[in-house]
Assembly symmetry: none
Homo-oligomer: 401 residues x 2
């Protein structure tokens, strides 16, 4: 679908759209022969599947296992090959840190290294968040700038923090210094793309300084850089779709993704009921809501099949309250699969439950990976979902005479 | 499918191909839980579905509701994003008006305006066709040219007519002057694309002159311009597929589309039996026939579910006679859906019944939106249909050694 043509067809009306991403929802069967979604007792979704549309989506491209960034950008209708976004920028946005086009961001870990500088623990024994805050404060006091560039550090949870470098004119095509394994030294930052030498030098200088500053720490005596990146230039959700949009998510990364495309990030506490409360409170103020459920993915990554099933069941229980808001279109789907038996994201397609006013229901038993194959939407790419949501909310004019 | 590769594979043989478009055929279920196609008694199509191939087609792109132009161009195998065709040109071609690359055409309505020039009735009370002819004759007598450009007017039905301007070198990227609503003045023609100022000026001059000429008419005292356009440069059906092709349609617009891609437009009266007669009479003279049934769409647009069902049933009755001609390939499908419950074109996929000599039948109950999901062709884009028709008539060589 050509973006310019889609845009020329958009008209604004008073309809309400809801996109629910159950992160990593879909799986593959475990020893019982069923997936998490097939195992879960979820009477609401099963009922809705019978009277609405089902389909299945390729998140990015055949065979591609998406990270959270590409997974979500695709569902938002952005070509994930065009917009490659570092995790650093996403975490920074999620933490509410202001960034501009001269800001380099990186997600960092505190780590433990031995006397030779080889990594013993990539997460510094998951130090406490309080300890993290103490260390970040020390870093902020001792590294305020590198060759004229302002440097800032921001605490995350446990061993995680964010490094910000301001006023960088060039690019940030620089590798992670985290080698992903222990018993080896952190990697040097090296440019892998044009005009990124300055960025690599700054990262290496921060690393060297930090080694000196942290040398007496027993656990957190080194730092590892990941997802070094600058903010990409990206068209906002409103420019693209003329939708006033808001995000109801509990994790920084997804808030970051939403704010990257210009969604308002709404306050919510970390529970499904609180997220629904936020949805209700803000219902009148937006056309489009992105509602993100994280724990399906977390338990999938942990290989915890039963806990993932439970999250699906808990989510199903809040559906009646969501339905009572009378959305015109609700899409329930995933950004990618996270099969518990694989303990990781995977390349498998994701099922789509598409609740709307103009369905073509088919005979299905409920909402599952298998049943979604029979659905009336068939196979689409995630990045086509927004067109479908706009169409079913009658926000797209007829194309051509 | 790359056009150049497809073309390199084409070979000519004596096979006969038939494309039947039941305009807006497919729907969504009404209160009975069934679509028009599911409701219709259509023993022939149901029987053929069981022994042939089924599939479903996305007319243009996910979520896009196609107008008749893009809907048909797609089925003919042309990229509707590449060939955007104004309705003016289609109506003109359909009326048999000769156009060349310097001709600007526009569909016009006679309208009624009040003393201030505000529109009271966009269709001038649907004046009689005779009255229309009288007015068009007056316009032809009084506006023969505008700044050196020959101007012609052609009557259509009721309030509709076509305006033609000859010898325009530039483009015709000019807005409709019909504001689509009443109680406002007609819009001024303005260029929205390059090199279209002259065209806009001519349209505005015709409007001004016509206001003077029609000022004493009680109903038809103004004209509104829509679909202002020039003929696009488009490769002919014969160049593309090496098929001698003909159109059997009863409405100007579809004749226009067919002649735009170089099909011969055959004479027929406005009934299915007459259309079949034309098919029989011309069977030996062409390789490919485009057979268009309009009324499924008309009744869908009217929200007349039962009449749409009846048209499908009437069409089913002529199938044995069509089959007796022994075509090698017959595709029965739609250009888009027109669900009676929506009273409009829609974005839903269309079902495809593909009657051919090399089928891979599956177990289905008959021909319907639902059953087509199970079919052996699966989901394709409308613009892929021609490749399939060529293939099944053995008109495509093997690709590569």
């Amino acid at each position: 679908m050509r973006d310019d043509i889609l845009k020329s067809l958009i008209e604004v009306n008073g309809t309400k759209l809801l996109l629910i991403i159950l992160d990593g929802l879909s799986g593959i069967p475990d020893a019982t022969g069923k997936t998490e979604l097939e195992t879960a007792f979820k009477e609401n979704m099963d009922r809705l599947a019978k009277t609405n549309d089902l389909g299945y989506m390729v998140p990015v491209a055949t065979g591609i296992t998406p990270g959270s960034g590409p997974g979500h950008l695709s569902v938002f209708g952005y070509d994930p090959f065009e917009y490659q976004i570092g995790r650093g920028i996403l975490e920074s946005l999620g933490l509410g840190i202001k960034v501009d086009d001269k800001t380099v961001t990186a997600r960092c870990n505190f780590a433990t290294v031995d006397k030779e500088g080889k990594i013993i623990d990539r997460r510094a024994g998951r130090i406490s968040t309080d300890n993290n805050k103490r260390l970040v404060s020390i870093l902020n006091q001792n590294i305020k700038e590198i060759s004229g560039h302002k440097v800032e550090f921001y605490s995350g949870k446990e061993h995680r923090f964010v490094t910000i470098v301001r006023g960088v004119d060039g690019n940030a095509f620089v590798n992670d210094t985290d080698p992903q394994v222990t018993d080896t030294k952190p990697l040097k930052a090296e440019p892998f793309g044009p005009n990124s030498e300055e960025c690599a030098n700054i990262i290496n200088r921060i690393f060297e300084k930090s080694m000196d500053i942290l040398k007496d720490e027993t656990k957190a005596n080194a730092i590892l850089f990941r997802g070094i990146s600058k903010i990409p230039i990206i068209e906002s959700f409103y420019e693209k779709y003329r939708l006033k949009s808001a995000c109801i998510a509990t994790y920084p990364m997804y808030k970051g993704l939403a704010s990257l495309v210009g969604m308002d990030v709404l306050d919510t506490k970390d529970s499904l009921n609180e997220q629904v409360k936020s949805l209700k409170n803000n219902f009148n103020n937006y056309d489009f809501f992105f509602f993100h459920v994280k724990k399906t993915d977390s338990f999938g990554e942990d290989g915890d099949f039963n806990s993932k099933v439970k999250v699906i069941e808990e989510f199903d229980k809040i559906i009646p309250e969501i339905l009572s808001l009378n959305f015109d279109v609700i899409a329930i789907t995933a950004d990618h699969s996270t099969p518990s038996v694989m303990k990781a994201h995977s390349y498998h397609y994701v099922p789509l439950l598409f609740i709307n006013r103009f369905p073509r229901p088919v005979d299905v038993n409920g909402f599952s990976e298998k049943e979604s194959l029979k659905g009336s939407i068939g196979k689409i790419y995630s990045k086509e979902l927004m067109s479908l949501m706009l169409a079913a909310s009658l926000r797209l004019k007829k194309f051509g005479a």
